[in-house]
Amino acid sequence: MDVQTWTYLIVGLSFILYIGIAIYSRAGSTSEFYIAGKGVSPIANGMATGADWMSAASFLGMAGLISTMGRDGSVYLMGWTGGFVLLAVLLAPYLRKFGKFTVPDFVGDRYYSRSARLVAIFCAIFISFTYVAGQMRGVGIVFSRFLEVPIDQGLIIGMVIVFFYAVLGGMKGITYTQVAQYCVLIVAYLVPVIFISIMLTGNPIPQLGLGGTFKDAAGGAPVYLLDKLDGLSTELGFGAYTSGKKDTIDIFCITMALMVGTAGLPHVIVRFYTVKRVRDARASAFWALLFIALLYTCAPAVAAFARTNILTKVSNTAYSVIPDWFKNWENSGLIAWVDKNQDGMIQYTSGEAFTKIPGATKVEPSYQGNSKAGPRGESGERLLKNVATTDNTNELYIDNDIMVLANPEIAGLPNWVIGLVAAGGLAAALSTAAGLLLVISTSVAHDLVKRTLNPGISEKGELLCARVAAGLAVCVAGYFGIKPPGFVAQVVAFAFGLAASSFFPAIILGIFWKRMNREGALAGMITGITFTTAYIVYFKFISPELNTKDNWLFSISPEGIGTLGMLINFAVALIVSKFTPPPPQDVQDMVESIRYPANNAK
């Protein structure tokens, strides 16, 4: 069977599975809709958290990013895993003991304030929407690449699927679909990597293969893969792969913002409300990180293997003898080549091969003609509308997603593996989108309607309201996915910065400092968000031309500024609290009670 058939078959089967699970485990009450009735086992919750957490960006994009960033790619590896330590030891057990439904619930109750609850609702919805738009786009992209349907149609199929199980199943439904989605995505990620690891290093465990010796087809002296890669990269002017290029302080701040942001993201936190006991919340954090680490420790191996393949098999090779996968992905627009010196060979060095099309948000190839047959150059390559740059000799454009997408073909694996990778990419995007949509729906139905606007609403009314909100959220997210406002790509880092500078300090201080009061929390959250937003908006939207190291505050990039925002939040909150009255006794008692899983001395 050909790739297309396999892909339709595997993706179709996985969708039937998700819908079947959703029907089987649909929610009957608000408690089931918001937190799965607190009946999820720690292992299942760990898997669901893993799928919830790992988005299309983790599955498709991260390995490519690491591959171009070299050692600096560690900001994502450490940043997106280290937050789970903070979650496990500082947040999860206490929030579980608190035991309501949402993050705004905790903020509102702990700070005995409607305004604090409203600020938290606003942050939760804003963070979730910025994040979910990117996921819906990811669904559309996977569809268009593997099934050759237009991005918009693919996105609508994705919306229908998510609508079905998020609206019907609520948290209970998405938890068990996420478990299935985790299984699909991890198998899809690991199978090609294991084969590539065997191919390049002879070691079936990619994590060890990364440190192993390079199997040279030409039979040269044995050399470590990383040394080989360092040598090749240096030769071509990229600098050694295992050395860093960014400023230490920037790396430090980006990593911190991502870690703390992870710990403050509402769709991750809410997963810890779904288990039965405090000890299960702790155990869930362990399982979640274990399942995430399985993919995250492979990612640097994928990155290094893909880089080695490109530098050995593509660089300085004639286009006429290039492997088939190169041409396949050129047709999809993920690889492009301009033969600057007209020698028919692909030169790959540092720098951009061509400039961006006027009006585009980033450097991307735009082909002359609309069909694959379209105008071709002398060697047979697709011709571009982009203008070639003259200040460097680089001729090659490679999209980051290619490092994962092309793996099965590079490893010469059978067609069904390609179908599996497509299903894996969709699972990663759909599971994260569903988790985020649920946060939006819960924030509207529970926090806004039930707790703020209309406390007298019936259980049935609230459940209906939650479903309507989830449905509307799917439509809005889909709309943003189809017509992405130019800023969507820019604001994902924003979601983390915002989570780091708003929720994290408010929750931590709320748990660990009984004296922390309403005034301090509000002042802290508002200054934190304002500072972070202002900095990002200034460098990303108002004056993007000034977005260089020389203009940054303490040479911290907008991606890492959430760290500073968080410190400001902490400082303001502590100072304001000191000068304002302590919280009422019942709130202090509540803080005391969440510190112990139970009190059995009766």
Binding site: V85, R515, L574, N600
Partner: protein, 144 residues
């Protein structure tokens, strides 16, 4: 409910972390004292109010919380050390050495793999430590 046993190697690592925590090296000794800026974590004689307000139990509860905080601070020191220390601040110094028998430079390994493995071990230790502590102080939840 059957008790779940963590993997032996993780447990061993956890015990090592525990050993480090109880040794008195200067930076670790820091975390055995509650910092002054969080005075109420260690209140001199603050009234304790619990759900059922049982007085003799208050000192026990304070001790439980103190042990919890101490464990968390120790874990966070290690967390910071492997990621920000080995993986970022001292990565170039560590890169002069290699993990024997592999192509990994030590700093690079910590930055891309070692830190993640350590994070996992830290949570495993925490889960085990807190479960024991819950039993010791009789604050564990019983099945309903």
């Amino acid at each position: 409910m059957r008790e779940r046993r963590p993997r032996q190697d993780l447990v061993n690592f956890g015990q090592q972390v525990g050993a480090i925590c109880s040794s008195q090296s200067p930076e670790v000794a820091l975390c055995t004292h509650i910092p002054a800026f969080l005075p109420e974590l260690n209140p001199p004689d603050a009234p304790y109010m619990s759900d059922n307000d049982s007085k003799p139990n208050a000192d026990q509860m304070k001790l439980y919380w103190k042990k919890n905080i101490r464990c968390v601070l120790c874990l966070l020191v290690v967390w910071f050390g492997v990621s920000y220390g080995c993986g970022i601040l001292f990565v170039d110094e560590l890169d002069q050495f290699r993990i024997p028998g592999t192509g990994f430079k030590v700093g690079f390994w910590f930055a891309q793999q070692g830190s993640i493995v350590t994070f996992l071990a830290l949570i495993a230790f925490y889960v085990r430590y807190m479960n024991t502590l819950d039993k010791e102080f009789d604050v564990e939840e019983h099945d309903l």
